[in-house]
């Protein structure tokens, strides 16, 4: 469903990612793990159009989307939960969700919103509260819920576990796993490699901007070298 081939890019003269190829299928959860600064966020930003690629191709349903500006990629069914959540702090939870449905307002927005509240009941209780007043975990739920409001077919999440308590990480990742089982293609970027690989079907390991390993997640979790490098064992 989402195919990235030979992606290269970075910030100005500094190349961060080199010849990366990644793919995600429908109803598949794929984890992209690697240490800080490996290029995970840069890849996601390039896929969603927040920054340009210097080489390579991005295809959604077989159609190239690399030339489209970010907002048109959202229209094609690609949603990105960016690093640091980026919720709209002074706006209410409901207004944040409504903005998530910015491009398809004609669809039943309140029905989609109720589905998000079913997924994250904590948000329903805070629906009128300013997003900035929520806890870190609730903000992450809101960021994911807001992305779901665009009814995406491909969902990309950038470090949803960052700065969250372990039990909240489980809650959020369980929900992400559920979304994949329901048919969404999900690309999950995580430093928390164990947690990500446990719910993922496949995984890529990225080091200094290059894919160094690609396998099903069971195999990656058993890999000695990987355990030593990323799993802290």
């Amino acid at each position: 469903m989402l195919e990235v081939s030979g992606a290269s890019g970075g910030y100005g003269p500094i190349q961060v990612i080199h010849d990366l190829s990644v793919s995600v299928d429908k109803a598949e959860l794929v984890a992209l793990v690697g240490s800080n600064g490996a290029g995970k966020t840069t890849l996601l930003r390039a896929i969603s159009g927040l920054q340009p690629l210097t080489g390579g191709e991005i295809r959604l349903d077989g159609e190239p989307i690399g030339h489209l500006p970010a907002h048109l990629r959202v229209a094609r069914g690609l949603a990105h939960v960016p690093e640091g959540r980026q919720v709209f702090g002074p706006l209410s939870v409901e207004d944040n969700l409504r903005l998530g449905a910015y491009l398809n307002r004609s669809d039943n927005v309140s029905r989609k919103r109720d589905r998000v509240f079913d997924l994250f009941p904590a948000l329903a209780e805070k629906r009128r509260a300013a997003a900035g007043s929520l806890s870190g975990g609730q903000q992450q739920m809101l960021a994911i819920g807001r992305a779901l409001m665009s009814s995406p077919r491909v969902l990309m999440l950038d470090e949803p576990s960052m700065g969250l308590a372990p039990n909240l990480v489980d809650t959020i990742l369980d929900t992400v796993g559920q979304l994949a089982r329901d048919g969404m293609a999900i690309l999950l970027v995580e430093q928390n490699a164990v947690a990500a690989l446990r719910i993922a079907a496949r995984g890529y390991v990225i080091e200094t901007g290059r894919i160094t390993q690609a396998d099903n997640s069971g195999a990656l979790l058993r890999d000695e070298r990987l355990r030593a490098a990323y799993l802290g064992e």
């Binding site: 927040l50 960016p82 980026q86 702090g89 998530g100 910015y102 491009l103 992305a147």
Partner: protein, 314 residues
């Protein structure tokens, strides 16, 4: 949301009440002229309420558009025989088109860089108005012909009081209505997180451009009204200082508040009049008041007052 709807209408009604009451109470032409200036500058500042307060983009060149509007009122009737009352519309169109053309490249910039670029734009407009003597009368300014309606020349201060007040009410009503709309939410999303807005599918550059054009149109209409009501325009109205004053009005009253824009304008128009008793120290005291307000009420007068009443009624 119903409670917001009524808030909106209430604000406009309250404002209309104030406007009508003042129109009756104010004793003479001097006070009517001052009040007219308040309404006109409030209208220009309302554009900044959307641009700075809601969309989070700074413009230090807003007086440039004020100047375009003012000179539209002066140049179009004298050189092209346009009816004076049509000039605010033509001026608004010219300003909007100019903002659209220049905005595309300028609005790629952020923060300080955007501020400097808009400052440059303001300077350019000001320079043209000052130096194109054959067109604009140069630094001396230019006479603005009085509109004539049914054989009556519109020169009474009370006439311009009502015209500027009506323009302000319409302008305020439009901005208040923006609040609950998708466009209004998109503006605020832009201010809070450009990345967030972008991944929501909001065309960030287009929304910025929209806010910029809207602010230019507001400033331009205000400029035309200024020229028409004064009967005279000078390049000073497009100066950098005037731009700074408009931003100060917006921030002082509360950048994202419609009532704040009006209160901020009222302060900056009225204080110099009141402070004339201080003679040489007038500007000094005015500056000090602005500094003190910003130190103690950094979000502006109106948000601070709203907070206070909330705390008192709790």
């Amino acid at each position: 949301m119903p409670h917001r709807l009524s808030d909106r209408h209430l604000s406009v009604l309250a404002l209309a009440g104030v406007v009508i009451a003042l129109g009756w109470i104010l004793p003479n032409a001097y006070f009517l002229r001052i009040a007219t200036l308040v309404w006109i500058f409030a209208l220009a500042t309302l554009g900044l309420t959307v641009l700075i307060g809601q969309a989070g983009q700074v413009s230090l060149g807003q007086a440039g558009f004020l100047g375009v509007g003012a000179y539209a009122a002066a140049i179009l009737p004298t050189r092209y025989g346009l009816p004076p009352l049509a000039t605010p519309f033509v001026g608004a169109f010219v300003s909007g088109a100019l903002a659209f053309l220049v905005g595309r490249p300028i609005l790629r910039l952020k923060g300080h860089y955007l501020a400097i670029a808009t400052l440059g734009l303001g300077f350019l407009i000001s320079l043209v108005l000052t130096n194109e003597v054959g067109w604009t009368g140069g630094p001396d300014g230019m006479q603005v012909p009085r509109p004539v309606v049914f054989g009556v020349s519109l020169s009474q201060p009370s006439t311009w009081y009502w015209i500027s007040a009506a323009s302000l009410l319409i302008g305020a009503w439009l901005v208040l209505n923006l609040d609950g709309t998708t466009t209004g939410r998109a503006f605020r999303a832009l201010r809070d997180s450009e990345v967030g807005a972008s991944v929501m599918g909001i065309d960030v550059s287009r929304m910025k451009l929209r806010a910029f054009v809207l602010a230019a149109v507001y400033a331009s209409v205000a400029g035309s009204l200024l020229g028409l009501s004064n009967g005279f325009v000078t390049p000073d109205q497009s100066s950098f200082l005037q731009s700074v004053e408009l931003v100060t009005m917006s921030v002082l009253g509360g950048a994202h508040s419609v009532v704040g824009a009006i209160l901020g304008s009222a302060m900056l128009v009225l204080l110099p009049q009141v402070l004339t008793v201080m003679q040489d120290y007038e500007t000094l005291v005015l500056g000090a008041i602005v500094v003190v307000v910003m130190i103690f009420l950094p979000s502006g007068l109106v948000p601070a007052l709203v907070d206070l009443t909330k705390r008192l009624t709790r």
